[in-house]
Every structure is written in C-alpha cells, then in structure tokens.
C-alpha cells in the first residue's frame, strides 16, 4: 500500500470531510484565484496609509484627542478635509463609480495602519467605507452610481461627502444587526408608503460619523410587527426635509469621531432614493424569498465590516505594542533597561505575537470576502482586469448604463439568486472570528502595555491609555463579541447539525 498515492475521487472525498477548503483555506485559494496585480494594490494601500500617518495623523492625534475631551462640541472638520485632499474617501471606490479603484483587499491593512496610530481619527475614514459597504449590497446600480460618483467630486471641491450606516435604535441594537433576531426586535423607525416615495419617522442613535456624513444609508421597516419582510434601505442626503441631527454621545474613547443621534420626523424620501424595498415586486419574487435576501444583505454588510473591525482591533493592538516597546527601550529599572528584563521581553513578545495573529485572522476573513462575500464579483479575474486596465474616462462614458434597471437586476441575480448558504456562512463566520478575536487581542495588548508602563502608561501623553480607551469600543460595536460568537456558532460550528437551534 502506498498511502501517498491518492486518486482524484478519494482526494475529493477526503477534502469533503472538513474542515472544507471553502471553509478554512480561503487565503490559500486566493493565491491562484486572485489576479497577480492585487498584491501591488495591497502594498500601495499600506504605503499610502503610512505616509498619511507620518504627515497628517502622528503630529496631531494626541492633541486632537485632548481637544475633543475638553470641548465636546468640537468636530475634526479640518482633518476630514485633509483626508479628502489625499483622496482617501474615494481610494477604494471602484473606477466604474468614479473612484481610484484600489483593490478592497488593500483596505484592511490600510485600516490596520491608520488604527495603529489613531483609530479615533481613522474612524472618520473607516466608517465612510462602512457606509459604502452598506449601500453596495443593495446592488441598486443607479443609486450606487449617483452616490459614489459624488464622493470624488465632493473631495475635489474640498467638501467631502461621506457615507454612514444608520441602523441602531434606542431599543434595538443587536436586534437590527442580527438577521435572526430582526423579527423579535422593538423596531421604532418606520417608513410609510405615500405618493412618490416613503415618509420616515423615528430616531436612530450611536450613528458613527453621523454629523460628518452627507449621505445617510438608513435601514428601517414598513411594519414593526414584521420588520424582516418589510425591510427598507434608503439614502437620505443632508438637507432633506424632516431629517435633522440630534445630540452626540459622550464616549470613553474614539473621541475624534462622533456617535450621533439622527432624527426623522415625517422625512419624505422619494422613490429614486429607495435602494431596497422588500415589498417591491422584484424582491417579493426573488428566487430565494425575502427573508433569505434580507439575511444575505445584512450578512454582506457585516461580513465586510467586521473584518474591518478586526483590522482596527489589530491596529490598536499594534499601537499599544509600539508604545510599550518604545517605552521599554528608554525606561531604566534598577540600573537596567526595561527591555533587557527577561519577563518584559516575554510580554513584548506576546504583544508582537498578538498583532501578527490578529493580522493573519482578519486577512483570512478578507480573503473569504474576496471569494465568497461582497467583493467576489470584483475579484473575478476578467472583471478585475477590466476595472483595472480601462481608463477612468471610459467609465464616465458608460456610466449612464448603470441607471438601467437591467444592471441592478443582473447584480442581484448574481449576488442573491446565485449566492449559496455555504458562501454566506463562510464569509459571515470568518468575519465574526476576525471581529471578536482581533478585538480581544486589541484589549489584551492595551492591558499589557499599561501593565508594562505602570504610572507612566496612565498619562495621556504616552499614548497607551488612549489605546485602552479606544479599543474597548471594538468589542462592542458591529454587534458585541458575544453576538459574534453566537453568529459563528450558527455559521460554521453548528450549521450542519440538524438538532441544533440558534439564538434560543
């Protein structure tokens, strides 16, 4: 018997035993399924982030944090404009929508780099892409084209128009972010159909970047007793009648970014800005049903955004590590540098290990998104080369085609009708792994930095205490880590066990 001689059928059988390739080896799969030029984009994204850190963020971030602590009404508009001058809000918008078209795979290391210096200021950039990741899964090409094309245009005018995600409500946090809990939630923001559009009433809270954004991607429902099947996503720009900004939360960290209250009082939204209406005929007649579609839509959003939160957690973990290392190399204890104490070396090594572990995990989630999540179409080699090689003017020329309903229908056919449970489980499950592991790592490293630095670490001017305040949020938003654990159980742990019930 020659055990190394395995036939094709036997090999397939063995690989099916699990963990399956689609479930656990997406990084490996990406090696041959992604275009070679992708890695250049990733390197470019890292280099841009490092340059932006050195020239813009590093010189101001501690002072900015203090300023926000002192004056709750302060908003970092100057920073926002500076990021716009650098073109960071359109950096990852595909060229077909007028952006610079850097590959989305590069966005995650980009986020880590920025968060390693200041995730508070970084949020102003990151959350804009969360808004983008929210609008994308509507696959409403007409609205996408209008909104996304406005971003680079507004950047050039010096008044960047950012996107945000408007979902959380006073009585519904986890409920509105978890598809399986949506129907049990106490939904308070309701859209009512009227001539030519919808009228929205309600209050949304904890909206990251709310006050900074221009395009608000709002999630609500038509019927509070049946929120999943009457789900609605719409776009509300600043200045819309009936829409106003409320208060801003007083937070422990992430002070440079806002958590806003948004108010909707008889806010009229024309049909042209309704990106998803579940009770519309095309959604009702969708191949897999409304519930499946809404579930998939939310999962497309959170799968891409939770990997991003993983990158933020890893970035803060790295910031804490770098602060601790810098301190240990200067601090003299008992006549010896702290960095030369063996126990301190072990702590620093653990911190370094944590950062690399986090990076490997959020990148695995990003790879899964490239193959089985929101970016899977863009990652197809022919599409990738088409979008990369054609000049921007060409896309401007053909952009009117994106207003055709047929394009939206094709997008939805591909992303919803042809989407499989396995794909959804893999991208959603890995996003949860990345989210809760990397943010736990972030908290662990922030603690280790403070352990090592003692009283000096408690001082604001050393930076470590800011990491500690900032990183805690990452364990909470984009659904708490505990909800992500449950989601992972649903997606990849208990998904093949018929006797298992979820969210009981």
């Amino acid at each position: 018997m020659k055990p190394l001689r395995i036939g094709r059928k036997e090999k397939l059988h063995l690989l099916e035993q699990g963990p399956k390739i689609w479930e656990a080896f997406n990084g490996l799969e990406c090696q041959h399924r992604l275009a070679k030029s992708t890695h250049k984009d990733v390197k470019k994204a890292i280099a841009i982030a490092r340059k932006f850190n050195n020239e813009v963020i590093r010189p101001i971030y501690l002072e900015m944090d203090l300023k926000c602590m002192e004056d709750h009404d302060y908003l970092a508009w100057d920073f926002l404009k500076k990021a716009g001058e650098w073109g960071l809000f359109s950096l990852f918008i595909p060229k077909i929508f007028g952006g610079s078209g850097l590959n989305f795979l590069g966005m995650y290391p980009f986020i880590e780099e920025i968060a390693s210096v200041c995730s508070g200021l970084g949020h102003i950039i990151f959350v804009h892409y969360l808004g983008l990741a929210t609008l994308f899964p509507s696959f409403n090409s007409k609205i996408l084209n209008k909104v996304l094309r406005d971003v680079p245009k507004s950047e050039k005018k010096g008044e960047p128009h950012l996107l945000d995600l408007v979902i959380t409500e006073p009585d519904a946090g986890t409920d509105v972010q978890e598809p399986l809990l949506l129907d049990r939630g106490r939904i308070g923001t309701i859209a009512k159909k009227v001539d030519g559009g919808y009228v929205i009433n309600g209050r949304k809270i904890f909206i990251s970047n709310g006050h900074f954004s221009y395009w608000h991607i709002v999630m609500c429902s038509e019927d509070k007793k049946n929120p999943a099947e009457t789900f609605i996503q719409c776009v509300i720009p600043n200045g819309s009648k009936g829409f106003s900004f409320g208060t801003r939360e007083k937070k422990m960290g992430h002070l440079a970014s806002t958590a806003s209250e948004l108010l909707f009082e008889d806010c009229f939204v024309p049909n042209d800005w309704m990106s998803i209406v579940c009770q519309s005929p095309d959604m009702i007649n969708s191949k897999k049903g409304i519930r499946w579609t809404v579930h998939s839509m939310i999962d497309y959003v959170v799968s891409s955004s939770r990997a991003g939160v993983g990158a933020i957690g890893t970035g803060i973990a790295r910031g804490a590590y770098e602060a601790a290392m810098s301190y240990a190399r200067k601090k003299n204890v008992g006549g010896e540098l702290l960095v030369n104490q063996q126990w301190a070396q072990i702590i620093l090594t653990d911190m370094y290990r944590n950062v690399n572990m986090g990076r490997a995990i959020y990148m695995e989630s990003a790879y899964t998104d490239m193959l089985q999540g929101l970016f899977k179409l863009l990652a197809k080699k022919p599409i990738h080369y088409f979008l990369t090689l054609m000049p921007k003017w060409y896309f401007s020329l053909i952009s009117p085609l994106l207003s055709l309903k047929l394009v939206t229908r094709l997008f939805r056919k591909y992303y919803y009708d042809w989407y499989t449970d396995e794909e959804r489980d893999a991208s959603s499950g890995w996003a949860s792994i990345a989210k809760y592991t990397c943010t736990d790592i972030g908290v662990a490293n922030a603690n280790l930095a403070l352990d090592l630095m003692g009283a000096d670490g408690l001082r604001h001017d050393h930076g470590a205490e800011k990491c500690y305040r900032d990183v805690k949020l990452t364990q909470i938003y984009e659904s708490t880590n505990q909800v992500n654990q449950m989601n992972l159980f649903c997606c990849l742990v208990g998904n093949h066990m018929p006797e298992v019930e979820f969210f009981k």
């Binding site: 408690l458 949020l473 880590n481």
Partner: protein, 376 residues
Amino acid sequence: MNSINTDSLACERQAFADLAKDFSAKKLAELREEHDRYPFGELFTDAIRDAGIIGLYGINLPVDYGGVGMNAAMVAVIVEKLSEVDASMAGIVFANAAALEIIGEGAAAKNSGDIYTSTDRFGTAPLAFQSFAAPNESDMPDADAGGSLTGTAAYLTLGNIADFAVVPARNSGKQGFSYYLADLKNRNVRISKPVVSLGLHSCPSVDVTFEGIPARLIGMQGEGDRYFNAMRDRMSICAAAMSVGLMKGSFKEALEYAADRYQGGRQIIDWGQVRMMLANMAVLARTGESCLANACRELDDTAPGWEQTATAAAIHLGELANRATTDGVQLLGGNGYMKDYGQEQRMRDARQVQSLLGNALFRKMDFIGHIIGENR
C-alpha cells in the same frame, strides 16, 4: 466588606461603612459624570472639604493629634464603599492615608510625635503623595544637608490641591532616600497643570518641581525605603478594597441594566450568555470580598505573613477588578461605553487603581523576591 462582624471593631467598621455610604450617596452619586470631567470641568472641592469635616482624612492619624487612630483596614472599609460610587474620592482618601502611614513610620522611628505639630492641616485636609509609583520607579528631588529640596516629584497625587506633600528625596552623597514633609504653598514650588490620566479624574496628579524649598525630614535620614515598604504592606489592603468596591459597583449596575434592557424579544438577563457573564462578575466580586476580608483580618491580628497576604490581595484583586469592570462595560453594550452610565468610568478607574503603590509587575517581582529571600 464581607468581613468578620464579631470582633471588637465590628461596630466601628459598620459605622465607618455607613458613613462612607451616606457620604457617597449625598456628595458623589448625583454628580458623578460631572466630577469625572476634571480637569476639563470643575473639581469637586466641596466634597473634598466635606470629606475632611466628617473625618475621612484622619482615620489612621493618631488620636493624640486629632485623628481616629485606626489602622489601614479601617481606611479600607471607607475606600471600598466610596469606590462603589466614585473611586476618585477613594483615591484622595488613599493618598492622604498613605502619606500619614509614612509620617507614622517616621514618628515611630524617632519615638516622637513632633512632626504632627508642624501643621494643623493633618486630618482635616488631604496630604499629597505619589500614590501610583514606588520611589524607585520615578524621578525624585534631591535634598541637601539642611533639608532643602530641589528637583521634580513626578505624578504627585493631590499636588495641586493639598497644602503639604510627603515626598521622597535623595540625600546628596548618601545611599538611599528619605521622606520629607514639603509645603506646597511655598513660592518656590512649581506645579504643572493636572496630568490628564486614564482614570480617577477627580483625584488629580501633577508634576511638582521644587526649587530649593525648605522641608521637614520625616523620621531618620536614608530610611525612606523602609518606611515605604512598611506603608505599602498596609496600604495594599486599601488598594485591594478599592478594587473590590469597583467590582461591586460595576456588578450592581450591570445587573440592574440586564433586568431592564430588552433585546431579541426578552430581557437580556434571560439570555444564557449574559447570565453567564453576570455570574462570572458575581463570582469575581464575591471572591474579592472574601480575599479582602481575610487580608484585613490578618492585618488586624498581625498574623505571621500578613504583609504577603496584603500584597498578593492588592495585585490579584487589581487584576480581577480590571476583568470584572471590562465585562461590566460589555454587558451594557453601547451604553456601557458612554459616559451617561458609570461603567466606562469604573473600567478606567479599575485600571488606574491597579497601579496604586507602584507598577503591579514590579510589585510582583518584589513579592517573589521577598519570598525567595525569606526561604534562603
């Protein structure tokens, strides 16, 4: 404190616990969020003054000099109760009590209470002290032969509100260091703006620079290290008590919130995972109480090795409080991260408390050093 209630001090302990609880409810609870804004808001000077009026700065001051004459275990009773509501006030009581412990050591070494007559502020106003670092962890001023101090005392807690500070200083040309009582109102004392810190915002720390100011030697010259270690052994009980208070406060708020908040169609307290987190917090808080009570009992009885028990309790309970208060934030979700609730403050305060009496890792190394030294 889950302490013994049959010993001779049980009544006093209960009285001080009630006093601190009443003070917290009247002076701290309502304006907790506003107080936490310092140094970007007003300092609660009224509460600081009132704490002196009710005697919270004289618990471990000898009776002959206007104090209550109790030990650190009684201070622990008070700081635990205060920390349940707002640990900053506990930090103020702690810094003052630590300074008094040093003075007490010096007075005992000299067999003289003269030092207590140098000001009438003892027991009525708090003393400044470097609560968050051992002397060997930070810069200290130099003292000349005549007792003049020159140099910087970094991160001096209460340095901007106290009239007097107990500070370590190196004696030129001699080994070790000594403690001095310094008048912070001297015009040659430069006080920085309050250092913006992670936690205990209303228990401010500043960097203080002395430019040749006269100061009074506490005890014997060169004995600072011994006084510090003796103080640290006893005050570890108080650091541990603050950690316990923070855990209890965090658990109480988490429990109330979980019973009140609905998600997924039911109170979140009915979600198994939430209940498990609450259970973990309850176990930590209860374990903390028990550990603290034992350390206090050993101190009261001067049981052999009580110093090690106290040190271990402070280090361990500091870690537990850090864990519990972090979960306390998590259980409130987004609300836990916001200043409207007390949880985020408790999480920051617990982390700050972990550094009381010096870097916890250095304290651990000292701890094992002592054990190894004894065994040899």
